[in-house]
């Protein structure tokens, strides 16, 4: 268990370093930042001084180390557009993104897993049919289209939910459903097929042969095994949900990091964009790591490997 966790932690650290290196290289490869920061009226002197302030006169490896040191201390540079520290801007937007991502994650689990289990034990029933429709819509409809459809029905036609922004307690519903649907569908299908496999296995037969009632077999013996595939997937899901809300945040004008990244991109605000990418990476790695821990808890073969 400890060995496993140490290995996972090591992997997380390596990932973060690799991404930071890529970000650094890209930021240098995309041209001299002074071109954006200084306007046409600045002198050569300004140019030089700016270079010194930014550390651009030093060799690249030193620049990278400085970049790392600053980043670790929470200094991600200045946002060009906002004229204040990138860290401040990001911290302002982070709660909205976490709130949306985690709500969508909860939806993907709370809808996907029970529906998957019910449709596997009641194959061909009404609930199975509903599950099939949910899965089909989630996996084939692109989120922007799904989002717009939900807005048209729930906000415009029936006026029961706000169409955009984050003003009311129920503002979260439409964006979270839009974002979570795809993963709810994926979880549903994963759980359903895992459950069918497990229910067909020899150890379920043996449990039945011991006299365990069908309910107990489903809830105790099958459920935990059927959780393993969706859990493997949850590492990807959680990271993707917390970080991958670019489209949904834009459709719903949700004041989170995804929308911030898009805005930064259009404003050529590279330090800000870079900061968002770094935070996304951290969130992604953190999510994957917590799922790994949970995974080890559920599957002893991982724990003792």
């Amino acid at each position: 268990m400890q060995k496993y966790l140490v290995r996972r932690l090591g992997l997380a650290v390596v990932t973060i370093i690799a991404v930071s290196l890529i970000i650094f290289i890209m930021s240098r490869a995309s041209g001299d930042p002074r071109h954006i920061m200084l306007d046409d009226y600045s002198t050569d002197e300004d140019w030089e001084r700016m270079g010194q302030v930014l550390g651009l006169d030093k060799p690249y490896w030193q620049q990278y180390l400085i970049f790392l040191r600053d980043a670790v201390q929470g200094d991600l540079g200045q946002s060009v557009k906002e004229g204040r520290p990138v860290t401040d801007v990001i911290l302002e937007r982070l709660p909205a993104t976490l709130y949306l991502g985690l709500t969508a994650f909860a939806i993907s689990l709370l809808v996907g897993i029970p529906l998957g289990i019910l449709s596997s034990i009641k194959r061909g029933s009404l609930i199975d049919q509903i599950g099939k429709i949910v899965a089909m819509l989630g996996q084939s409809a692109p989120p922007f289209w799904l989002g717009i459809m939900l807005i048209i029905f729930f906000a415009v036609a029936w006026e029961i939910l706000p169409p955009y922004g984050w003003d009311d307690w129920n503002s979260i519903v439409l964006p979270a459903v839009t974002l979570g649907w795809y993963y709810a569908a994926a979880n549903l299908r994963l759980v359903r097929s895992a459950m069918l496999d497990v229910l067909d296995s020899e150890y379920i037969k043996l449990a039945r042969a011991k006299g365990v009632p069908y309910r107990g077999v489903v809830l105790r013996h099958a459920f935990r095994n059927a959780l393993i595939p969706p859990l493997t997937f949850a590492g990807v899901t959680l990271g993707a949900l917390v970080t991958g809300s670019l489209v949904v945040e834009t459709v719903f004008a949700w004041p989170g990091l995804g929308k911030l990244a898009i805005d930064a991109l259009f404003a050529f605000d590279y330090p800000l964009l870079q900061g968002v990418v770094i935070v996304f990476t951290l969130l992604y790695v953190l999510a994957a790591f917590s799922v790994d821990v949970l995974y080890a808890y559920i599957d002893p073969r991982i724990r003792y490997a």
């Binding site: 150890y203 043996l206 039945r208 011991k210 365990v212 009632p213």
Partner: protein
Amino acid sequence: MVTQAATERDVVLRVNDLRTYFQTRWGTVKAVDGISFDLRRGETLGIVGESGSGKSVTMLSLMRLIPMPPGRIVSGSIMLDGEDLLQLSDGEMNRVRGSKIALIIQDPMTSLNPVFTIGNQVSEAIAIHQNIPKRSVMEQALSVLRKVNIPAAESRMRDYPHQLSGGMRQRVVGAIGISCQPQVLIADEPTTSLDVTIQAQYLALLKELQQDSNVALIFITHDFGIVAKMCDRVAVMYAGRIVEQGSVRDIFNRPSHPYTEALLASVPRMEEDVDRLYSIEGQPPTLHDLPPGCPFADRCQYVMERCREEYPTRTTISEGHDASCWRLI
């Protein structure tokens, strides 16, 4: 007459005209089609037959563990200790499974649940069927593990299946089977995928456990060598029916059904060349559109006209030995 009555009382399991069909896309598969046999206290009945002949489906029917749908037990009765299992409610059947009739499943590598400890899985049946405090449950689980010769049983209780060798898992499954002192224990090919020494040890252990507890054992196998060592009686299955049954001695000395003959002839002997190894020509019939008549007709060297028209009636060859073949009439 007196001995007759005595054996009558000794019968723990009486299966009569059991039929289990599966509804499939290609039609009705008659996997078990009219099986009858008796099983006495302390006796070992071997069931042999080619793959697909319905051995496992018969045993799952006895446990009432046929997946429904697509399966269905169409008719028959399974009298265990005077009560017909087919008449029990699901709840009543749960109380019988694992306590009065137990099943040891084929593959030791897949029949234990990977996410629960050995102790957990061995104690489960005991906890379900015996109304005793948790501590005694654990003590009893430990004692059955010792009975099947699990070394360091106490610490093994906390292990997970993947931490045990195949042979050890096999014995754990055996321990689960005997944990509630059943009257009937079914072992469905308990020795596949293990090496020969481990297999021999396991069989000796099963035999020993049986002698201790006087449980009636049904033993399913492809291997006549194992039958000779383990069993008192044999039933030979073909295409969902028992085509011949009798004592091991009768079957080996006077095989009466052409299929039994062919099976015995196909048993490889040590001194023989591999070249001369006999195997039965042809394939077993598909079970979803069986023609009328004897299902062995296409592969039988003695086939007659009558064989293709009518299923052969059962003929008694000697006391306790019968076969279904037109040649015997």
